[in-house]
């Protein structure tokens, strides 16, 4: 591997080859970048992924349909609700199962809270990689409240395993609604404070504005999705444009990067789209809690899940972009193929193209602004 990369890198021997990772404070997990630098300027950065490959897709072929749910948590453990939901929807489509409305609402609530939790980590680590440690811990502090809420809801703080084929595992616990609303009241004001603390700090803005610009065409060409795509100015969100679950019932905005302080598609746009999305998610959770329908939270699911042969694709707007589950059934109790398409994987592919000309410090900003999570790349 290294030899192969080095052969591509070493043009005239004047450059320095840096092994940026796998153990590096700002690679967000175990990722390696082979960086060819000329002083502080990067000639080329080639990502080398796979350190966290856990063969989750293979496991999906070995355990039964319901048994795979806890493994989906591990696809993206920073925002584990989305893989849960994506897989559940895919199997439900295979089974042609109708999910009761209350379950749809609970899915939306849990996912949007999870999106907030994930974005808090994302914007926090962005600040940390730029060199400000305090905002990171402020984000973690707010996430902690969310983790407590999730823990009360489904018993786990990280690997939720909350969604089930046909619904969700638990109804809301007592008092949870009020706790959540109280948190959201606090959180909306926290977002304002966070912007004052870091988002529009001039040093921070100068570090991100106009850095690592990804134009819209390049973003679609490389299959970027989610906040990364919207940061490039493409107005696209699955929740609004191909609605699933309970989303058609809520009113919310889709923040799109428009060059808040620099160029459209720069690192700051990707960062700030996430900040704005947190506010929108908060709106969705409020609406969902207000309009939460009564009824069952789990559909009648056959005891043995054994869909007829066929294939289904489910697309979910995850915190890191589009998460698609492609589940192929051959008529047995175990899937013939479970494919997970994740936002981080495609986001990582673009580093190769964007990195030339950046400085070493900008590479850190680029990685942080793409908000990649190593397990999601490697699965």
């Amino acid at each position: 591997m290294e030899r192969l990369i080095l052969r591509r890198l070493q043009a005239d021997g004047e450059e320095m080859i840096l092994n940026f990772g796998p153990q590096h404070p700002s690679t967000h997990g175990v990722i390696n970048f082979m960086v060819e630098t000329d002083g502080e300027v990067i000639r080329k950065a080639i990502p080398d992924v796979g350190y966290l490959h856990r063969s989750i897709e293979k496991i999906g072929e070995q355990v039964g349909y319901p048994g795979f749910m806890p493994f989906t948590d591990r696809v993206d453990y920073v925002a584990a609700m989305f893989p849960n939901e994506g897989y559940a929807i895919a199997v439900e489509r295979l089974l042609k199962l109708e999910v009761p409305p209350r379950a749809q609402w609970l899915r939306a609530i849990s996912c949007e809270l999870c999106r907030i939790a994930s974005h808090l980590i994302s914007v926090g680590t962005m600040a940390m990689d730029i060199g400000a440690f305090t905002p990171m811990l402020h984000g973690v502090r707010e996430r902690e409240t969310l983790n407590d809420l999730m823990e009360a809801l489904c018993g786990a703080r990280l690997t939720y395993n909350y969604h089930r084929v046909g619904g969700v595992a638990f109804d809301l616990p007592e008092g949870w609604r009020d706790r959540t609303l109280r948190f959201l009241d606090h959180f909306d004001r926290f977002l304002v404070e966070f912007d004052r603390l870091i988002s529009f700090n001039e040093v921070f803005v100068k570090r991100l504005a106009g850095v690592a610009v990804i134009p819209a065409e390049l973003a679609t060409d490389y299959g970027l999705s989610g906040p990364n795509l919207r940061g490039s100015g493409v107005d696209w969100d699955l929740r609004r444009d191909l609605p699933y679950a309970a989303y058609p019932n809520f009113r919310f905005q889709i923040p799109v990067g428009k060059g808040f302080v620099g160029t459209v598609g720069d690192a700051f746009d990707r960062y700030y789209v996430r900040c704005l999305e947190m506010g929108e998610s908060s709106k969705i959770v409020r609406q969902a809690l207000e309009t939460l329908p009564e009824g069952e939270f789990m559909a009648k699911v056959p005891r043995r899940i054994k869909p007829e042969a066929g294939e289904a694709l489910s697309r979910v707007e995850s915190a890191r972009g589009e998460m698609a589950y492609y589940v192929v059934s051959d008529g047995t109790e175990k899937a013939a193929r479970v494919r997970v398409r994740t936002g981080s994987f495609t986001a990582m592919g673009i580093v190769d193209a964007i990195s030339p000309g950046l400085m070493v410090a900008d590479l850190v900003a680029l990685i942080a602004s793409l908000d990649v999570v190593a397990p999601e790349i490697d699965r």
């Binding site: 192969l4 293979k58 489509r93 060409d221 299959g223 007829e308 694709l313 193929r337 193209a353």
Partner: protein, 201 residues
């Protein structure tokens, strides 16, 4: 456009090189001749009525019984919000499919992954290396007949299964405690379990 209309448009352009749309169990798909997949994809992307500018996913399926590996292309258009699933069949023994890297750059990494996990060669790919596994890995794990090696470069990845081992301990203890009442099994210590079944740590 619906999937059917998209498919009709492809049919009109490419004739029988694009296969029929599969029966719509859940998500229908159509099988394309491997040699024409790049043309079909390019047409799908560049035709203004189709405008499939987003390669949603590119993966593969292994069907050992039919002896094919199917490479699956999920295409989607942001502008028209329609999608289609294309498939290309390749021989399992030496799967070889032309690359669509020139159509969508996203395919670069997707095809590397398929190459890594299924062993499909993408002809004309610019950087066909393993992506998730180390490049001295043997075999392609997502193939159905893949057998995992017991470790990697001397690292053992097998942990004893305490459930089985405890059971063996129990049985020995029982055999030791009751040799008089049940003499026959005591002669041969019961060890009916397979030797410490391999488990990934």
């Amino acid at each position: 456009m619906t999937v059917q209309e998209v498919h009709e448009r492809l049919l009109a352009r490419f004739g029988d090189e694009v296969g029929p749309l599969g029966e719509p169990k859940v998500d229908p798909f159509c099988v394309v001749r491997a040699a024409r997949i790049v043309d079909v994809c390019r047409f799908a992307k560049e035709d203004p009525a189709l405008a499939m500018d987003f390669l949603e996913d590119l993966t593969a399926l292994d069907w050992p019984k039919r002896n094919v590996i199917e490479v699956v292309y999920h295409l989607f258009s942001y502008r028209h919000r329609h999608a289609i699933v294309l498939k290309v069949e390749a021989d399992r023994a030496a799967p070889r499919v032309p690359t669509v890297e020139g159509v969508w750059r996203a395919a670069t990494w997707f095809e590397r992954e398929v190459y890594d996990l299924f062993g499909v060669e993408f002809a004309g790919h610019s950087d066909l290396r393993r992506i998730l596994l180390p490049d001295d890995w043997i075999g392609h794990p997502l193939r159905k007949d893949y057998q995992e090696a017991g470790g990697y470069r001397g690292f053992d990845n097998v942990r004893e299964n305490p459930l089985v081992e405890l059971r063996r301990l129990d049985e020995r203890a029982r055999a030791a405690a009751a040799p008089a009442t049940v003499p026959a099994p005591a002669a041969t210590p019961p060890a009916p379990v397979p030797p410490a079944t391999g488990e990934k740590a």
